[in-house]
């Protein structure tokens, strides 16, 4: 599904150049659940953003379903994203002025889905994420766990083939974290490919494979034995 070839990412700020990714080669197959781990600042988020086309690599190649996409323009990227990829962030990134319902509905607005269909899908998804009772509330009024469930609802509402999650449990306590991980695992079991950045070994245990990053390099790729 995803393949990268010598992916490089450099940041330049005020004469200081940081190499966030250095010759990253990896392949992710459809239906996989991959965890990316590594010390903070090693380039995990950068990698995830590039895989999700939220950022551009400095050099190297990126393939999505065997199609080269690193040269796409913003419009093509947007289209690819909205049809295939859902995002979950550590800091939720819900829009403050919109209710939970509206936040979840947002991706459908940009896909020209009819309003009755939107209503059906939003309600169904909120229900699945167990936050139906909070639909009319604003993000600030919710607990972290609820906000993250809302964010996951927003990510899955378009039925994406791939979900990219950047430390989805990073801001949550263990109970809420557990709940979020359960949801992701369920999604994976129904066929969604998941790539997740995490610091937590127990979260990583849910995955099929762990990619270890260090200073922009992939150091190891552990195939986990499925029990």
């Amino acid at each position: 599904m995803i393949k990268t070839n010598n992916l490089m990412k450099k940041f330049r700020t005020n004469e200081v150049e940081t190499t966030a990714l250095n010759n990253v080669n990896l392949e992710i197959n459809e239906g996989e659940f991959v965890a990316i781990m590594g010390p903070s600042g090693c380039g995990k988020s950068t990698l995830l953003n590039i895989l999700g086309l939220l950022d551009n690599p400095s050099s190297g190649e990126l393939f999505f379903y065997n199609e080269r996409v690193d040269g796409y323009n913003e419009r093509q990227r947007t289209n690819l994203r909205k049809e295939n990829i859902g995002f979950v962030f550590q800091s939720f990134n819900l829009i403050e002025e919109l209710t939970i319902y509206e936040n979840v509905e947002l991706p459908l607005l940009y896909m020209k889905v009819s309003s009755s269909e939107r209503k059906r899908r939003v309600n169904e998804t909120l229900d699945r994420m167990k936050i139906m009772h909070r639909a009319k509330h604003f993000p600030q009024q919710l607990s972290g766990g609820q906000q993250q469930r809302a964010a996951i609802a927003r990510a899955v509402i378009t039925n994406p083939k791939l979900i990219l999650a950047d430390e989805p449990t990073g801001n949550l306590d263990s109970t809420n974290g557990e709940e979020v991980m359960n949801l992701l695992t369920q999604l994976n079991e129904t066929g969604t490919t998941i790539v997740m950045v995490t610091h937590s070994p127990s979260d990583a245990d849910r995955s099929h494979r762990i990619i270890q990053l260090f200073d922009g390099h992939i150091v190891t790729e552990n195939m986990r034995q499925k029990l």
Binding site: L54, D55, E74, T78, R81, K82, P107
Partner: protein, 782 residues
């Protein structure tokens, strides 16, 4: 300490280059415009204010009342009036008559001859009433006798070079000899009385044989100087019937106007007098300044919100409320002063162009600091208000709330309001300038009822009339010259009028009607292509046409003549016969309608030769010049184009409209800048939100739509408020014209669309910017 302060201020300015530029430039532009306008206004108001006795100097003017109830208000008064008033009315200390020399005069010294037309004939009190500094001669006896001429410095140089001119002889029209008794400083540019030389008033009699004892001939300006502490209303009641006391049948009352009001205030109650324009422009100056200050406050308060975090941090590390307040204030005031400094530089740079535009000799005088000081005060105030919001607000709120990222919404209302006001003003200005422009354009192009194209005319010197027939004969031979005629005045501005007219059926006790009187040559009507409705024009083929009259429609209707050919009309003691009626044509400014007119033939009165050419004037004019100088080698040839003069009639208004439109443009630009800056700011605040929307599939058009919606609401509201304001203002202005356009709904629509366009461009630019960057940058944006 101050250095640290400066450093932080400049670093902040640099870090927020875009805002700083818009903010400082906007304010500077606003100050520049309003300063320029006020310099001009101040100049106009300064007219005739250099006379030391200015509070005691008054012009006497006449209100003549006619049959139709119309009053005719003029500065022209009878020659005996001045001396009479001075002698008989206690409150009047001094008095002088003033008359322009009529037309061109030939002045000669021993060596050379000059043609002059800027002389005044005055009484000796002139020099005591007015303050024109005497450079040479006796300041207490400037014009000692009837044979004295007083000249200006400029004229002295021209006539006598570096020689002492005192006592030198100047002869006028060869027969009258004068000796120079004094040299005056050139009359200042802001003087209503402009002259190169001054002659004793008796020159009018000596040169033109004019009877200076006639109470019934209204021709001269009378200026009086009153004693200190005179109660003006009671003096006015004394003066009012003065002419009637001396001339039983007179229809004329007298009134007083302060001489310093001469330049700007019209005596006839015309509401479109120059002072109105001065007031409008003062208003425009303040509006522009207001817009600029609003902008400034708007942008800097917006910016200060971004600094909430800075404040919070400063507070956490222990800054005191009072210290923070002082810091914000100092910063804001400092930046506004920076803008002020820039504005002064801009004014200096733009002044030459502005002088050209206004045709006024303006200077940014630092020796007269009131204007600058009041501006500095306004700027300080702007800085203060802009600073006080963040200073008070930010320095008093709780740091923890900002660090948690809570934004404050109540300031948005204030800011929206200011943007709406700006747009109201801009939209109203757009509509007004469009209407003003169209009206003046309309006047320029209006069919005045005669042909003004391809007509050149030449002003005759005195006693030239006898040469005219021969000249006409020669001129008409020039190829390209179609018609040659002469008259006492050109149709551009008829000023010769009389009410001493009677006709069959005029009722005995009817009040007087004022008729314009024009003395014309054969071919006059044909040259100007006026339309003859009944009868015929003057014609040399019909034998002597003297004492024949051609009248206009207005005159025919006043005299109740429907089929009038052959009717007799008595003018003074002469009886004339009507031979034709011409269609009404405009012989005054189009602000006034058409008045009754009588035209008759009288070659003694001719003052102008008018020549109709076949087009492309220059080669033909060269031929005319040749013909002229062959016959009159001593008299310089000079001519005017009627069309130019016609434009000149509306020049004051044209110039005003040009200035008005330029400043409207600037006001609009400042408003647009303000909207641009503010919407950029608002959009920037929404960067993160837009980034998130992008992550989930929003494209350019989605972003554009959501922004447009936010701004369009304000713009529409501003339009709805601006339209009626502009409509009523312009209706009122147009009501002052006899011929006027009608306000078109297109103007409202246009202004609306323009304002939407401005908003659209801003929003388009910002949406486009976001839509092209990687969304992660927007999400991370702080």
């Amino acid at each position: 300490m101050f250095k640290i302060f400066l450093n932080t201020v400049f670093r902040k300015l640099y870090l927020q280059k875009g805002y700083s530029l818009i903010n400082i430039l906007g304010l500077a532009t606003g100050i520049t415009c309003s300063l320029l306008i006020l310099l001009w206004v101040e100049y106009e108001l300064s007219f005739d204010s250099f006379h030391q006795n200015k509070s005691q100097i008054y012009s006497v003017y006449e209100n003549q009342t006619y049959a139709d109830g119309e009053t005719f208000t003029v500065y022209a008064t009878p020659a005996p009036l001045a001396a009479n008033l001075k002698e008989n009315i206690d409150e009047i200390d001094k008095a002088t008559r003033i008359s322009r020399t009529w037309g061109k005069l030939m002045l000669s010294t021993e060596g050379s001859t000059f043609v002059e037309n800027s002389g005044l004939c005055v009484d000796p009190d002139f020099f005591k009433i007015f303050s024109f500094p005497v450079l040479l001669g006796n300041p207490n006896l400037v014009m000692p006798d009837e044979r004295s001429i007083v000249i200006t410095e400029k004229m002295s140089k021209r006539y006598f070079g570096e020689d002492n001119p005192l006592g030198k002889t100047i002869s006028i029209n060869t027969n009258l000899k004068y000796h120079v008794s004094a040299v005056l400083k050139d009359s200042p540019k802001n003087s209503s009385l402009y002259f190169d030389f001054l002659l004793p008033f008796n020159f009018i009699k000596e040169n033109w044989g004019f009877n200076l004892n006639n109470w019934d001939s209204h021709a001269f300006l009378t200026i009086i100087q009153i004693k200190n502490n005179t109660y003006i209303p009671s003096l006015e009641t004394k003066i009012k019937p003065y002419i009637k006391q001396n001339l039983k049948q007179s229809n004329t009352d007298l009134a007083l106007q302060k001489f310093s009001d001469y330049h700007l205030h019209s005596i006839n109650g015309n509401k479109l007098s120059p002072i109105l324009y001065i007031r409008i422009f003062t208003l425009v100056a303040f509006i522009i300044l207001l817009i600029a200050c609003f902008n400034y406050m708007n942008l800097s308060t917006a910016r200060s919100e971004r600094r909430a975090r800075e404040v919070a941090v400063r507070k956490v590390v222990g800054a005191h409320k009072r210290g923070l307040f002082a810091l914000f204030m100092a910063e804001s005031i400092f930046i506004s002063l920076l803008a002020f400094g820039l504005a002064i530089v801009l004014v200096e740079l733009l002044l030459p162009f502005f002088k050209e535009l206004t045709q006024r000799d303006l200077t940014l005088k630092l020796s007269n600091p009131t204007l600058l000081l009041s501006f500095a005060a306004i700027v300080l105030f702007t800085g203060f208000v802009s600073g006080s919001y963040p200073a008070l607000y930010l320095s008093s709120f709780k740091p923890i709330r900002i660090l948690k990222g809570k934004l404050y919404r109540d300031s948005h209302l204030f800011r929206k309001l200011m943007v709406i006001i700006q747009f109201i003003i801009s939209v109203a200005l757009i509509i007004c300038s469009s209407v003003i422009y169209r009206q003046l354009d309309f006047l320029q192009d209006k069919d005045v009822g005669y042909q003004k194209d391809n007509i050149i005319y030449i002003e005759m010197l005195d006693n030239f009339q006898k040469h005219y027939p021969k000249l006409k004969e020669n001129l008409i031979k020039i190829p390209g010259v179609l018609k040659v005629t002469a008259a006492n005045q050109m149709p551009i501005n008829f000023t010769n009028s009389t009410s001493d007219i009677s006709w069959k059926g005029k009722s005995k006790d009817a009040k007087d009607v004022l008729f314009q009187l024009s003395f014309v040559d054969y071919d006059f009507i044909e040259t100007f292509e006026m339309e003859v409705l009944q009868g015929r024009a003057f014609s040399s083929k019909q034998g002597a046409d003297s004492l024949k009259l051609v009248i206009n429609e207005a005159a025919a209707s006043v005299m109740n003549m429907k089929y009038t050919i052959g009717e007799k009309v008595k003018i003074w003691d002469y009886e004339g016969e009507v031979i034709g009626i011409v269609k009404n044509f405009n012989f005054n400014s189009l602000q006034v309608g058409v008045k009754p007119l009588l035209m008759l033939m009288s070659s003694d009165e001719f003052k102008y030769i008018a020549i109709k050419t076949s087009g492309d004037e220059q080669p033909i004019i060269n031929k005319i010049r040749e013909t002229w100088s062959k016959s009159f080698p001593k008299i310089p040839f000079s001519y005017r184009l009627l069309k130019d003069d016609f434009s000149y009639l509306y020049k004051a208004e044209s110039r005003m409209s040009l200035v008005f439109i330029s400043f409207t443009l600037i006001a609009i630009i400042i408003s647009a800048l303000g909207l641009f800056g503010l919407s950029s700011y608002i959009i920037e605040q929404k960067y993160k939100e837009m980034g998130i929307r992008k992550v989930f599939g929003a494209e350019f058009q989605n972003l554009l739509r959501s922004f447009l919606y936010r701004f369009l609401k304000w713009i529409l509201l501003a339009n709805l408020i601006a339209w009626p304001i502009a409509y009523f203002l312009m209706q009122w202005w147009l009501a002052g014209f006899a011929y006027r356009i009608h306000i078109s709904w297109m103007e409202f629509l246009g202004a609306g669309l323009l304002s939407i366009l401005i908003a659209f461009i801003t929003v388009f630019y910002q949406s486009y910017k976001i839509s092209t960057i990687a969304p992660i940058k927007a999400i991370r944006y702080e």
